[in-house]
Structures are given as C-alpha cells and as structure tokens.
C-alpha cells in the first residue's frame, strides 16, 4: 500500500527489477528493431516491446517519487521528464550519427536522458530545495525511461534507430509531438490514476502495462506511414497493431479484475450511498 501523501512507497516488485526490465528490455528492443529478418516485419514489433518495458520502468519511478505527496505534480514531473528524455534520445542518435557510429545511438540516448534528468533533479533539490529523498534518482530514471520509450516507438515506425530514418519518418511528419505527449500520459497516468491511500504497486504496474500497449497500438496505426516493411504480404504495421491491441486488452482486463477485487464494494445498481446523514 502507498500513502501517496508523504513517504517512501511500499513495493512488491523491487525498483531494481523494474529498472533492469526497462534498461535491458528497452535497449534490446531498440537494437533488434534494426535487424532485417522476415523482411523487417518482426523488428519493429521488438522495438515497440522495448518501449513498453521502458514505460513500465518509468511508471514505477513516477510512483516512487510521487509517493512523497506530489499530488497534482504527478503529470508535471512526467511532462518535464519526457521533454528531457526526448532531448536525450535525439542528442544520442544525433551524436552517434555525427561520430559515424550509429550503433551507439540508443546507449548514448539513454545516458544523455539520465544525465539531463539528474541535472534537473539536482537543481530541484539543491536550488529549489525540494525535500524528496529519491528526487534525483527518480528524475534521472524517468528521463532515461522516456528516452528509451520514445526511441523504441520511433524505431518501430522508422524501421531502425538511425538519425536519418527517425528524421524522415517520425520528426518530419510530426509524430514526435504525439510520442512526447502520449508517452508522458503512458508513464504518469498509472500512478496518477491509482493514487490514494489504497494504491497498490501491482495494480499500478498492470495499468502501466495497459497504457504502454495503448501507445504501441497507436504506433501500429502510425507505422502505416512506412509501408516498405512487408513479408509474405503481411505489413509490419499490422503486426505491431495486432500485438499491441492484444496486449492492451489483456492488461486492461487484468487491471479491471484487480480493481473489482480491491474495491470496497462493486455495484451495478443506482443505489443511494448510505453515509450522508
């Protein structure tokens, strides 16, 4: 349970496990998004799944920092960290392109996101004097997760993580703006939606999986913009869309079941609440 109003949150799944899931899963997915197996149809799906891992990690980091009573600041720290994460991701792939070492782009993006997040966390703690013990670590983690998530979904549409591909297929059509705002929503919504004295980490993570797959589903639709990835008549966008939708439905169902179980009472009747006398 989490107090959501001043103190560290209790966790059934340790932050380190989710960090490992986000970093390893995210990087692995992005790197595999560049492989050309089965006409490149599978690779974008792996890129998207890497981004899903990163969002789950970011949502847990938001939960840890927001448990100190951020309240309406939950969306704000999401917004801020996503901005840092996107800058980090683009700095990473741009730097890699400049050095002619495309392969190090995702790692550089992650590192740049982490550094930018840590710097802003230090400013908030040292200059603004916010008294949150985990602020620097969590701001860095959210920004790092944001960098990987945006890079993962971008590579799914572009068919790789090279700067040229991302510029042509994601930034020029403006999809990067949607990723900024939608990944913000996907990372901050789980804890923002579930906060309260009876918040529970597992339920929040179930919602994080659902929000992550919601972005993947929409990414599947947007991947129509890159029709070159086809194998045996099956386009990559369709595979992303179908797997994203299945993941979305399954995780959503799991979240709704968990909510019904944890509810004080579940009612389908328009009955009058009893307390007000």
């Amino acid at each position: 349970m989490s107090a959501a109003g001043g103190g560290p949150s209790e966790a059934d799944i340790s932050p380190e496990v989710l960090l490992a899931l986000g970093v390893i899963g995210g990087l692995l997915g992005i790197y595999l998004s560049d492989i050309n197996v089965l006409g490149g149809v599978i690779a974008p799906v792996l890129g998207s799944l890497g981004a899903v891992c990163a969002i789950i990690w970011g949502a847990d980091a938001i939960r840890r920092v927001a448990s100190y009573g951020l309240g309406t600041g939950v969306p704000s720290i999401g917004y801020m960290s996503l901005a840092l994460g996107i800058i980090g991701a683009l700095v990473g792939v741009a730097l890699a392109a400049t050095l002619n070492l495309t392969i190090i782009g995702p790692v550089l993006g992650l590192v740049a996101g982490l550094i930018l997040g840590a710097v802003v966390g230090i400013v908030a703690k040292v200059i603004v004097k916010m008294k949150i013990a985990v602020l620097i670590r969590c701001t860095a983690e959210i920004s790092g997760a944001a960098a990987l998530a945006v890079l993962g979904f971008s590579s799914a549409i572009a068919g790789g993580y090279g700067l040229d591909l991302i510029l042509a297929k994601v930034i020029a059509p403006g999809f990067i703006a949607l990723f900024f705002i939608f990944v913000t929503m996907a990372i901050q919504h789980p804890f923002n939606a579930c906060l309260g004295p009876n918040e529970n980490q597992v339920r929040t993570i179930k919602l994080a999986v659902s929000t992550a797959f919601s972005v993947m589903t929409i990414t599947g639709i947007l991947a129509i913009f890159n029709p070159s990835l086809v194998y045996a008549g099956v386009p990559a966008w369709l595979v992303i869309l179908v797997i994203g939708a299945i993941g979305w439905v399954v995780s959503l169902k799991s979240f709704i079941c968990a909510s019904n179980e944890a509810a004080a009472e579940v009612s389908w009747n328009a009955e009058i609440p009893k307390v007000e006398e």
Binding site: A4, H189, L195, P197, N198, L222, S259, S267, V275
Partner: protein, 291 residues
C-alpha cells in the same frame, strides 16, 4: 485583406467555439481537472458519491493526447490515402474516442479503488452511463480542434502554416485543454459542487471535499453535472476559446503584422476593464460581503 482567408478564419472560430464548449462539458461530466480534487476528497469527508473521477492527468495533457492521436491518424489518411479531409479527421477523432474512453475507465477505477478504505463503492452503472456522453463530446471536441489545426495548414494567403498536422494538433489540443480547464471548470467546481455555501466567499480549506452530492431529485450523478454545465459553463468556454482563435488570427488578417499587435493590445486592455467591471458588479449584487 483576402476575403477567403477571412472566411476560413471565421470557420476556425466557429470550430473552436464548438471544441471549447464540448471539451468543457465532457471534462465536467468526468470531473476532470479542478473539480476533481474535491470529488477525490469527498469520501474522506463522508460523502459517498456517484460522480465520475476521471483523473486522466490535467486537461491540457489529456487533450494534447486525444487531439494528437486524432491529428496523427487524420494526417495518415490525408497523405497516404488522399481521403476527404472531413472523413480523415472523423476517422482520427474516432480512434481518439476509443483511447479516451479506455483512459476514462482506468482513471475512474484507479481513483475510486484507491479510496476504498473510506467505503466508496465502484458504481459501474454510473461509469458506463457516462462513457457515451464523454466519448461523444470528446469526439466533437477532437474533430473540431483537429479541423482548426488542418485549416491553419491550408495553402492560402495569411495561413499555410508549415508545421505538420500531428504537431499542430498536439499544440492546439494542449491549448484547448488549458482554456477548458481555466474557464468553464469554475461553473462546476465552485458553483455546483459548493452550491450549499454562499456565493463570493471562496472555498476555505476546511470545506474541501464537503461537496454537494444531491440534485433537485435524488442523488446527483455526472450526467446531471453535464446538463448543468451545458447551460452556462460549456457555452462560455466555447465563446472564450472561439473568440481567442478568431481574434488572434483576425487582427493580423485585417491590420497586418504590426497593426495586429497594436490591435491585440487594445483588445486585451478592453477585456481587462470589462472583466473587472463584471466581477465588481457580480460581487456587489450577489455576494455576501457588504461594505
């Protein structure tokens, strides 16, 4: 002055008015943004309620997402399939409505269950009956705001914005959410939730969460809130956003860039004076505080 540009600007103003009105009514049905904190606190104050607690971030982020999804899908249909703009934008707004509905369900469930120790039940009937109006109003708002973003990109004199549609849709969605959050919410928040308290006194912290959960007959629900806000708060937000969009383009179309800046400053000054007069009049006429 190009009459076609002026006509398009008028159409943008009309679309923005519809977007503003429906956005405000939709978010009021969901108790989103400012009134949301009070709905959230109500169970702790002993008021078990049947309101929708749609804590899907604040309105600016939420409408940035919905409009962004609608604009991106519309852009795809426009550029790859050369679809008619009206159909393409409607298709985009339909996909956004699906996302919007699911996020409504998850945020309501999450917040209500997060309060379960206070005995607040999950009323599935209250949730499901509100989903249609939320999705419907959201669809109209997203359709209208993406239409505004699309009209700005039309290759005509004075417009022809170089940014792609998805980017403009996100920016206009955030703007719409910000106006909806700041303008219409007061009608639901301080006027409907706290209608048992005298007007003009503000809401002291001690009264937070002490909201009115009864309607004229029976227990109030979120559809009642929608009906209440459709009479004043929604149209007011629509007029505000519509005027904002229309005037900000109209002044440059009519007076040019620098003349438009001067005209804009004059209009802002007139509005400040008018707002002050209206508020002083309202407090003197209806407020509890006498000099």
């Amino acid at each position: 002055m190009d009459p076609i540009t002026l006509g398009v600007v008028a159409l943008m103003g009309a679309a923005a008015t519809i977007a503003g009105a429906t956005e405000d009514i939709e978010t009021d049905i969901g108790s989103e943004s400012n009134p949301n904190s009070q709905v959230q606190l109500a169970p702790q104050m002993g008021h078990l309620h049947r309101f929708i607690n749609k804590a899907t971030s604040g309105e600016p982020v939420a409408y940035g997402v919905w409009a962004g999804v609608a604009g991106s899908v519309a852009y795809l249909f426009l550029h790859l399939f050369n679809l008619n703009p009206v159909i393409a934008i409607a298709a985009g707004a339909s996909v956004a409505a699906l996302v919007h509905t699911i996020y409504t369900v998850t945020s309501h469930l999450g917040r209500i269950v997060g309060q379960s120790q206070f005995g607040q039940p999950v009323y599935w009937d209250a949730l499901t009956q509100a989903l249609g109006p939320i999705a419907g109003h959201g669809f109209i708002a997203n359709f209208s705001i993406v239409a505004v973003a699309y009209l700005i990109t039309l290759p005509i004199e004075g417009l022809a914005h170089p940014f792609p549609l998805p980017l403009l849709a996100v920016m206009w969605g955030i703007t719409l959410g910000a106006i909806g959050s700041s303008t219409g919410d007061v009608h639901y928040g301080t006027e409907s939730e706290f209608q048992q308290y005298p007007f003009g006194g503000g809401i002291p912290v001690a009264n937070h969460g002490d909201i009115n959960i009864k309607s004229s007959v029976g227990i109030k629900n979120s559809i009642d809130v929608g009906n209440f806000c459709a009479k004043f708060g929604g149209p007011l937000t629509g007029i505000c956003f519509g005027l904002l969009v229309f005037i900000s383009f109209w002044i440059t179309v009519i007076f040019g860039l620098y003349g438009g800046l001067v005209a804009g400053i004059i209009i802002v000054l007139i509005l400040i004076i008018l707002n002050n007069r209206i508020e002083v009049f309202a407090r003197k006429t209806y407020g509890p505080y006498k000099e």
